[in-house]
């Protein structure tokens, strides 16, 4: 009994949707709330409609009798008309109510969409380039010079250690860090530059409530702020070939110090004899 009572706050909490993984992004709470309300309202409508559906089946009209005199015939016709009018009125009222409901859903969702997608990231956001290849995600950090080096498609050679085709002759690419896991500091907005070199991939981080297709030939930006440290899975959500199900990696959200340590430990060492 107490267990059930203890569960009630969880069920009534609008911050957590049953079955969804826990949220780690700043905007995720608003999304989860919106999802909760949508699911709650629509589940209620589902139950209500089915109750009406099933109850209606038990309702049986009496056999329509032919009346001997005209007056009773007219009365029964009036009654039928009144029932018909009532049904019409209730249907139109319900339809109007549903229209208002859909309007509320659309507007509340659009507000959230606008705050997240209409504008780009703040200028001081952390820049990370995400590249999808069959069947691996690569993440590139700009390094100390805060600039991404040039890449050229003809240099792409994953077995030789250059999956992104970094042009080593470009000075900006010497300090670029390429990693296959995404490590981010908590609390700082990050701007992802999504690319793909071969087919359309879908960059999906369920824990950050983030999804965007990576389309070859069309680099695009999405931004979010990871707020809760932890380990989140990154999945591919657009079928990209036979390794689609394997194209998974991790997002690690860590403290700022840990992030800087990680960056330092991954910084490429200068190659002997390299010229500037």
């Amino acid at each position: 009994m107490s267990a059930i009572v203890g569960l009630i706050p969880l069920a009534l909490s609008t911050d957590r949707v049953w079955w969804m993984p826990s949220n780690g992004a700043l905007h995720g709470l608003a999304i989860d709330r919106l999802m909760w309300w949508n699911l709650a309202v629509l589940s209620a409508l589902f139950l209500l409609a089915h109750i009406l559906l099933i109850a209606a089946l038990f309702r049986s009209r009496p056999l329509k009798q032919r009346h001997s005199d005209d007056q009773r015939e007219e009365e029964s016709r009036d009654r039928r008309r009144k029932v018909s009018d009532k049904l019409w009125k209730s249907e139109l009222i319900l339809l109007f109510a549903l229209t208002l409901l859909y309007t509320w859903m659309a507007i509340s969702a659009q507000r959230l969409w606008a705050t997240i997608r209409y504008q780009g990231a703040a200028p001081q956001a952390l820049q990370v380039e995400v590249t999808g290849e069959q069947f691996q995600w690569y993440f590139r950090y700009p390094g100390a010079d805060a600039a991404f080096g040039l890449t050229r498609p003809e240099l792409i050679n994953a077995p030789a250690g250059n999956p992104l085709g970094l042009d080593r002759t470009d000075p900006h690419s010497t300090d670029d860090i390429v990693s296959s896991t995404l490590v981010l500091p908590a609390g700082r907005e990050v701007d992802l530059d999504l690319r793909s070199i071969d087919v359309i991939h879908g960059f999906f981080i369920p824990g950050m409530r983030l999804k965007q297709n990576a389309v070859p030939g069309m680099p695009m930006h999405v931004h979010f702020t990871p707020s809760t440290p932890g380990d989140y899975s990154i999945l591919c959500s657009q079928v990209c070939g036979l390794g689609h199900a394997r194209m998974q990696t991790h997002l690690r959200v860590v403290s700022n110090e840990e992030y800087l340590t990680w960056l330092a430990s991954h910084a490429p060492k200068p190659v002997e004899g390299a010229t500037r």
Partner: protein
């Protein structure tokens, strides 16, 4: 049977007959074949997800590309050869001329050509399984560059070409059918059959035919452009600098910078009307059957016509809701989202109308709930279940989480596979007497209904939860991947068991079909006591004098009046 009639019926069974009824039944048999193959493919898929290492008899273990090929072909077979062919071509050929009092369709030869082209299309599609490389693996939506470059995956070479050729032929056949249907409805209605006296099934075929004309032409163009990309080194969909399998592709020239987004727009401009093509005839049938079995007229005939037209028009304007996270402009996303919400309004209006028809009460003197009525109620239930998750997916911010997850799979299976299929079952049970002169067995039909209902909800409802947990589509296996996904294996196992149960329940339908065609109870002229013209046998001259749903009017012997009857016997 007279010799003349025997000879007539033999002529009608010729291989290249132009008799619309024979062609309609042949279309339905084609769909039956397609749905059987598609269901078997889906069972292989379901088994593979939960037991990836299982070796199937005759096939061995299914490799990951095999799974993706199963997914692609399952989707293609079901969407095109079942949900477009059966409700539109099949039943329209069979029933449409009779319902408007015409003796034949406007262009019977075109009807026969369209049928044989559809058969050819199915044969070519199934051929993709047997070529080197196998069937394509890019899903029924076939986004380029995966579908544009043969080296991008197994099955993307000859298999993909066969898919494209098959669908190209199918587009052409569908357009021929649509021309036939539209001309028939516009010009072959019999005397007295004004537009507002047409049954709602005919209205839905009218709107569906217009949608086919618009949508399939665009798909045909997209298929032509993709074939051109694949074989003529154009670059409509493939950008420069593609590196596939370590090979830098340049399309033979450095300026061929295409855009995969072009395919998405073209395909979904077809793809969204396609789902309305699949479901509008079902909605028209539901209205008709609810009127028939509650013994009352359709609640708001003009309202139903208006909502059908609105759904048809709006359906052409909402394609972007499949592309919210595809790289489309977020402002366009807002526009499509608002438009998609708007289409929920006529759909809800229809559902409320149907509920109103039920709430008015049934005259239970007539056989209480015969099988066609049960399946209509099932359609209503699934339409509500699947339709209600539509508004969630219509909101880009929520779709950004749910896109391409099992939530979407649940949504479209509930509404297309289950609601659409249930209305096809209702149509078969209802119009079986017109096809064979016999009724289908009621007991088997009721068992079929209940087992399918339970199996369907058991299969597709839990998929919502898998989607909320974030499980993406097209994943060949969950074992060995992140813990969030492998924790869903018990759920998916339950779904698989339910799917096997659901598929098993369909055997009852097949047995019923086969048995009733020969040994079913002979039906009278009008076993369901319906008012529409297809039940009027031997009309010497067709002259319609009233609307299509005049139920509830008592004469000395019956409580309905057929459309063509001159006067009711009372008053």
């Amino acid at each position: 049977m007279s010799l003349q009639l025997q000879q007539t019926m033999q002529r009608r069974r010729g291989l290249f007959t132009t008799d619309h009824r024979t062609i309609g039944i042949r279309y339905l048999l084609l769909s039956l074949l397609a749905v059987a193959i598609g269901t078997v493919l889906s069972l292989f898929m379901r088994i593979h997800i939960v037991s990836p290492d299982l070796k199937l008899p005759l096939f061995g273990q299914i490799p990951p590309e095999g799974y993706l090929a199963l997914v692609t072909m399952h989707g293609t077979l079901m969407v095109f050869f079942v949900l477009t062919t059966a409700p539109v071509n099949g039943f329209a050929s069979l029933i449409l001329p009779a319902q408007i009092g015409a003796q034949r369709m406007a262009f019977p030869l075109l009807n026969a050509i369209a049928f044989w082209l559809t058969t050819l299309s199915l044969a070519v599609l199934l051929g993709a399984f047997f070529v080197p490389g196998g069937a394509p693996i890019s899903g029924w939506t076939n986004y380029p560059p995966l579908s544009a470059i043969a080296a991008a995956g197994p099955g993307q070479a000859t298999g993909m070409d066969l898919w494209l050729v098959s669908i190209g032929i199918f587009c052409f056949a569908s357009i021929l059918s649509a021309i036939n249907m539209l001309t028939t409805i516009v010009s072959k209605r019999c005397q007295g059959m004004t537009l507002l006296r047409m049954p709602l099934t005919v209205w839905s075929w009218l709107v569906t035919a217009v949608l086919i004309l618009f949508a399939f032409s665009i798909l045909f163009a997209a298929v032509v452009l993709l074939l051109s990309d694949r074989h003529l080194a154009t670059g409509f969909f493939v950008p420069t600098g593609e590196v596939i399998n370590g090979l830098l592709l340049d399309n033979a020239n450095p300026h061929a910078n295409g855009s995969p987004m072009l395919w998405l727009h073209l395909f979904w401009f077809f793809g969204h009307p396609e789902v309305y093509i699949a479901v509008l005839p079902a909605m028209g049938l539901t209205s008709s059957l609810l009127a028939n079995f509650t013994r009352r007229p359709v609640f708001g005939y003009r309202f139903m016509v208006t909502t059908t037209l609105l759904i048809g028009v709006f359906g052409l304007l909402v394609w972007g809701h499949h592309m919210f996270v595809s790289g489309m402009n977020p402002y366009a996303g807002t526009a499509f989202a608002l438009m998609t919400m708007a289409i929920a309004i006529p759909s809800s209006g229809k559902v409320l109308g149907w509920l109103a028809m039920l709430l008015r009460g049934r005259d239970s003197r007539v056989h209480p709930l015969p099988t066609p009525m049960l399946f209509t109620l099932g359609f209503l239930s699934f339409f509500i279940a699947g339709g209600l998750t539509g508004p969630i997916l219509a909101q880009p911010i929520l779709d950004a989480y749910l896109h391409n997850t099992y939530f979407v799979v649940a949504h479209f299976h509930l509404i297309m596979a289950m609601a659409g299929a249930f209305s096809l079952f209702a149509a078969v049970y209802y119009w079986f007497p017109l096809m064979t002169g016999r009724l289908m067995n009621e007991t088997l039909g009721k068992w079929h209904f209940w087992l399918s209902l339970i199996g369907a909800y058991g299969t597709f409802f839990p998929m919502h939860f898998a989607g909320l947990a974030g499980q993406p589509r097209h994943y060949a296996q969950l074992a060995g991947s992140t813990s969030t996904l492998s924790s869903l294996i018990p759920l998916q196992t339950g779904i698989t068991h339910s799917a096997l149960f659901l598929a098993g329940a369909q055997l009852l339908f097949l047995i019923n079909l086969a048995w009733s065609a020969r040994r079913g109870q002979p039906a009278g002229e009008n076993p369901w006591q319906a008012t529409t013209l297809e039940w009027a046998s031997d009309l010497a001259e067709c002259k319609v004098v009233r609307g299509p749903y005049e139920y509830g009017f008592h004469t000395n012997t019956q409580d309905f009046v057929m459309q063509y009857a001159v006067e009711p016997e009372e008053e």
